[in-house]
């Protein structure tokens, strides 16, 4: 073997550990759709955080001004109990973002762990997958209603109730992607190069499995926001005085013929949030594939 006496600046080349994900993020900054979507999402987050500064009390009742028109202290009018619709819409952002974010994380972490396990273990994997199939046969909203009824009502219950039906979907996705990654020659090469089981999982299989997981997690976040709205609408989600978009739409249902705008405002916010979440998920998954973004030609 040649003696390792190379100039120091080339040693640096061998040590370079490129971070494909960061390189891709830098690349994404040049994509206007991504930038606009990210800006809108950040705006939602700021609204949620600073809600008390930009809106009044969302729970204050004012029976004299029921279903009132827009006014200086109630920009979007008032609902059937005389509450400020603008304030309720602003505060409702909190429930949607918390539920969406928490469900995405709570579905992804166990989903990835169980999915990878199922892909690597023949017998255990088969058992896990049958359980997952059984869980998937139960409609998600029904399962969430049952869980919400069993546990103490409140935001944590809502989050858990929505997360559990999301896990099986994540498990199936991760298992199938991990199986196809495991069949790749570079995984065989890694085994032949003496990789331990944990190195195989964390260095070779997991990083190449994550792109679809990110997309699925953003879909889970989006569908969790809808599910929380549905559950609030059905009256098993957060309690009625807590402002949420789903709850607002449920309340507005009775007055839809005369005051359709009561349903329009939370519905519009919900649609915009879902749209930017899905767009960002899509772009992020592309960013996770170095082949799609980074280009240094030979």
């Amino acid at each position: 073997m040649a003696a390792p006496n190379s100039p120091p600046q080339t040693v640096a080349a061998a040590r370079t550990r490129r971070r494909p994900f960061l390189e891709s993020l830098a690349h994404l900054r040049r994509d206007p759709t991504t930038v606009v979507s990210a800006a809108i999402l950040v705006l939602f987050i700021l609204i949620a955080i600073f809600a008390p500064l930009i809106a009044g009390d969302p729970t204050a009742l004012n029976p004299i001004r029921r279903l009132g028109p827009p006014a200086p202290d109630a920009w979007l009018g008032t609902d059937q109990l005389g509450r400020d619709v603008y304030a309720r819409a602003v505060y409702g952002t909190r429930v949607s973002l918390i539920v969406g974010g928490a469900v995405a994380v709570l579905a992804a972490i166990p989903g990835v762990a169980i999915g990878i396990y199922a892909s690597m273990n023949r017998v255990g994997g088969a058992i896990v997958m049958r359980l997952v199939d059984a869980l998937m046969a139960i409609p998600a909203v029904l399962l969430a209603i049952a869980l919400a009824a069993l546990l103490k009502p409140g935001l944590p219950t809502l989050i858990i109730a929505i997360s559990i039906p999301e896990i099986p979907r994540m498990v199936r996705l991760v298992r199938s992607v991990a199986l196809s990654v495991t069949a790749q020659p570079y995984v065989t090469a890694a085994i032949a190069a003496g990789s331990s089981r944990s190195r195989l999982v964390f260095r070779h299989i997991l990083p190449n499995t994550l792109a679809p997981v990110i997309v699925q997690a953003t879909y889970a976040a989006a569908s969790a926001i809808i599910a929380s709205a549905i559950l609030s609408f059905l009256g098993v989600g957060t309690s009625p005085e807590v402002p949420s978009w789903g709850g607002m739409m449920a309340d507005a249902r009775g007055f839809f013929r005369f005051n359709p705008e009561l349903m329009f405002y939370p519905g519009l916010l919900l649609s915009v949030l879902l749209l930017v979440t899905n767009i960002l998920g899509d772009r992020l998954s592309d960013a996770l594939d170095p082949r799609k973004v980074t280009q240094k030609m030979p």
């Binding site: 073997m1 040649a2 090469a189 190069a193 240094k296």
Partner: protein, 329 residues
């Protein structure tokens, strides 16, 4: 003959296929049947055969990547099947592999340097700085510019990827490299470069090599000994020159006849392969080759021919060749 570095004895490998769970009986695909191979230290064994004859399966078995259904692989006196997983992992330092598809055999999220460093990280106690220095030296020894080391596989050409694969294989200074069609995915001009590089490395490091290919001219160029495979069996084996100069098995003759020739002899001057490789799920009885063999007779339909005892280290599994030999004697 010296003690073999690796020997595979009586290897059978079969896989269940088709319906499982309540779907009736499973059929088994016999990829390898009673295969014996040995490689001496520093020797190159060429494995030849059509696609689907079991060459790559044999490579995986030799590398301990899948345990054979029957038979044993013995590397330097150690039976791979009896070895606990951790010891097998440590022994991997001594036998490495080069794959056919150069880009697919490199992790798309790792740079060339990280790929080459992989076996060093896993199998040696070198420090990070020592590994970096080794990676540079290895890149230089396979003719890979150090400016390419921070590239991802998709930013390299096929030939450059295969150089990375080769550097990774020789990184832990193995005694044996199994090369599974290492050049068949490359352009012809690059093939020659990579082949010569492999020969040079082999000579420099005194490596033994199992060189798998369906390209006879490539095998003739690199191999000391050749084994010809047909439907999971070795049908002819012997010194490369001997086998190519005086092929005995009708299948080997066909293969050699099918090599494109710059000035082809007149029609009918050489036997050409006819028909398709039969399905290994349902191989013909008797000699598996009888369905395509110009010499086949009744005995070939019934009896499986065995590899004959050595005649000048040249062995053939064919009834008709055996008859000729006895008649001649």
């Amino acid at each position: 003959m010296t003690e073999p570095l690796i020997s595979a004895l009586g290897i059978d490998q079969s896989f269940p296929v088709g319906a499982g769970f309540l779907g009736g009986p499973r059929r088994r695909l016999h990829a390898l049947r009673g295969v014996d191979v040995t490689v001496a230290p520093g020797e190159t064994l060429g494995l030849v055969g059509e696609s689907g004859c079991g060459k790559s399966t044999l490579a995986r078995v030799l590398l301990g990547l899948e345990p054979p259904t029957a038979g044993s692989v013995i590397f330097d006196g150690t039976d791979l099947a009896r070895l606990p997983a951790v010891s097998l992992r440590r022994l991997r330092r001594r036998f490495q592999v080069v794959f056919q598809d150069p880009a697919a055999s490199l992790n798309p999220r790792m740079t060339a340097a990280e790929c080459i460093a992989e076996p060093l990280i896993n199998l040696t106690d070198l420090s990070t700085a020592e590994i970096d220095a080794r990676v540079l030296a290895l890149a230089a020894s396979v003719g890979l510019g150090s400016h390419l080391l921070d590239r991802f596989p998709h930013e390299l050409s096929g030939g450059q990827c295969q150089r990375v694969g080769l550097a990774r294989a020789i990184a832990p200074e193995p005694d044996l490299i199994v090369a599974d069609e290492p050049v068949s995915a490359l352009d012809v001009s690059i093939q020659a470069q990579i082949l010569n590089l492999m020969l040079e490395i082999k000579a420099r490091m005194g490596l033994a090599m199992v060189f798998i290919s369906h390209d006879l001219s490539v095998v003739a160029h690199v191999a000391d000994r050749v084994a010809v495979m047909y439907l999971g069996r070795i049908v002819e084996s012997g010194p490369a020159e001997e086998v190519f100069a005086r092929p005995r098995h009708p299948y080997t003759r066909m293969l050699i006849g099918s090599v494109p020739h710059p000035r082809p002899p007149p029609e009918g001057g050489r036997p050409l392969p006819k028909g398709e490789l039969p399905s290994p799920l349902n191989p013909p009885p008797g000699c598996a080759f009888h369905s395509r063999c110009p010499l086949a007779d009744n005995r070939c339909l019934r009896e499986v021919p065995q590899l004959l005892p050595e005649v000048a280290r040249h062995r053939t599994a064919c009834h008709r060749v055996a008859e000729d030999a006895t008649e001649g004697a």
